[in-house]
Point group: C2
Chain length 132, copies 2
Amino acid sequence: MKIRAKIKDAGLKATPQRRLVYEIMQKLQHAPIDEVADEAQAAVPGINVSTVYRIMESFCEAGLLSKINHPNGKTYFDITTSEHHHIINEAGNVTDIEDAELTELIKERLKDKIGEGQIIEKISIQIITSEK
Amino acid sequence: MKIRAKIKDAGLKATPQRRLVYEIMQKLQHAPIDEVADEAQAAVPGINVSTVYRIMESFCEAGLLSKINHPNGKTYFDITTSEHHHIINEAGNVTDIEDAELTELIKERLKDKIGEGQIIEKISIQIITSEK
DNA sequence: GTGTCTGCAAAGAATTTGCAAAGAC
DNA sequence: GTCTTTGCAAATTCTTTGCAGACAC
């Protein structure tokens, strides 16, 4: 689907800044805001960091992106929005792992360990790797 | 073991500030720095926030505490240092789950998905819960 | 046209750092 | 006594906000 259509389908106006940010995220797959902002500013000098923040946030709310809890403290964003897991290496680079069966298995195993009256919203596994 | 001994065994000097911070962490189990700092300042008015930051950091390096990737962006610390998992509820409160067998199972299942020449440093599952 | 979005500059959180005095061992 | 740690204030880094003009539809 074209970027313009994706953004509009998500209920947002397809501004040039949003189209650019989405395109950058399609390329990067996973990235912290400052990296996206740098790429954006390289492409279109006028674009502002706060705009990028607002766009990333609106994309998350609209279901176009998801957030990653990254060990380096910065907020990372992910072009993949379906339930999945992450491998994070020493450099902080993120790789996706899709394994719905595993997610289901964990959910089943831990479902009675969560509090009374609570439901599981999301399960995410982080695998931190280092050089052998 | 006494707090003083724990700190010294970890190779750090057992200053009053460190003993206090460790005691607070034993009570809270999981907490962000500002909460620890508030508790510390309530107990001993002179203690400084930057000191608490430095203490938490030194405790992590010394293996007395571990860091938690918390979805609210702040760094949370955990008195438990052995491999384990977390349930995080809507309020941001953290609960531990110990399940070494599950960790092993996941490790076995995903070991060939990590990159060439890499080893798994750590596996952590986060379960985000919400009200039913 | 109208309501949303952007740029800018300023404010606000969270965290770090430099340095001199204080304290642990 | 020596080397580490602390307190303080200032600097950095990351993120959010207010507002006026610009733009999507």
